[in-house]
């Protein structure tokens, strides 16, 4: 039904997962499967979930994103959500959705910076 699909590409040791503007439920469900498969296949630190194209984040989509981040965490990776538009951030908050403890970044660039920094759970912290 949906002519827009998820794109998953690997950049060095990070997966960049880009969601289309208005994914239907099947496409949203595929996010979990495709992301976890790619995590299993590649030796990566985690993933940047690019939501910059996304026009709406309803409760089903938000729950899937939060669950996917949790599953990626269990596999030992980190998820950073990047690029959420103002309209989506406002609407999702008013609707009452939360993304759990998932970290966020304004842009993909900033997300890539975050994911490679210590203290993100993928490297041991230095003692003071």
């Amino acid at each position: 039904m949906s002519d827009e699909s998820i794109s998953v590409i690997r950049i060095r040791d990070v997966l960049l997962v880009t969601m289309p503007a208005d994914p239907d439920d099947t496409t949203v469900a595929a996010l979990q499967e495709r992301t976890l498969e790619a995590m299993d296949l590649h030796d990566v630190r985690g993933l940047v979930l690019d939501l910059s194209k996304v026009e709406i984040l309803d409760s089903y989509f938000a729950r899937t994103v939060a669950e996917t981040a949790q599953m990626v965490g269990l596999m030992g990776g980190e998820t950073i959500i990047a690029g959420m538009s103002p309209a989506v951030a406002i609407t999702a908050t008013e609707l009452g959705v939360t993304l759990g403890k998932t970290r966020t970044a304004l842009t993909i660039d900033r997300a890539l910076d975050l994911i490679s920094k210590p203290g993100d759970g993928t490297r041991p912290r230095r003692e003071r």
Partner: protein, 136 residues
């Protein structure tokens, strides 16, 4: 309040939820709603059409554009012949859910829209009507 234009989207399968969203997005844009207002209307449509699919299995979303003086608006009506809601007041309260969801469908849609009315009879079905007015 004059009715200018109307239409409907049947909700029979999961992909119809996305169809309903697309139909409403086009209408909201045509009426001159801004990006955030459009996102609110489309998100409410998504939650309410998902409720229809999840609780009743099937139903319909009817939409119509509204004019009141110089104001333009849109009305969405979701109708199903599902199990109905026993306590409507309880259903629009925060955190209420019987469908294993997060319980934000009805209260969330209410916050996103300007007006909401629920007419439900247990064993017969539910009709949820929401409206949003275009502010200039």
């Amino acid at each position: 309040m004059n009715v200018e234009d109307k239409g409907e989207v049947k909700i029979k399968q999961e992909t119809d939820i996305a169809m309903a969203r697309r139909a409403i997005r086009d209408i909201a844009k045509k009426l001159g709603f801004g990006i955030t207002e459009t996102a609110r209307i489309v998100t409410a449509a998504s939650e309410l059409s998902r409720n229809v699919f999840k609780y009743a299995g099937a139903g319909v979303m009817q939409w119509r554009t509204l004019t009141s003086g110089e104001n333009k608006g849109v009305e969405l009506r979701f109708e199903d012949q599902g199990p109905g809601i026993a306590d409507v007041n309880e259903a629009v309260r925060e955190g209420y859910s019987t469908g294993g969801g997060l319980g934000m469908g009805l209260p969330g849609a209410k916050r996103l829209m300007d007006e909401m009315e629920i007419d439900s009879t247990v064993g017969k079905g539910t009709r949820v009507t929401v409206r949003k007015w275009c502010r200039r």
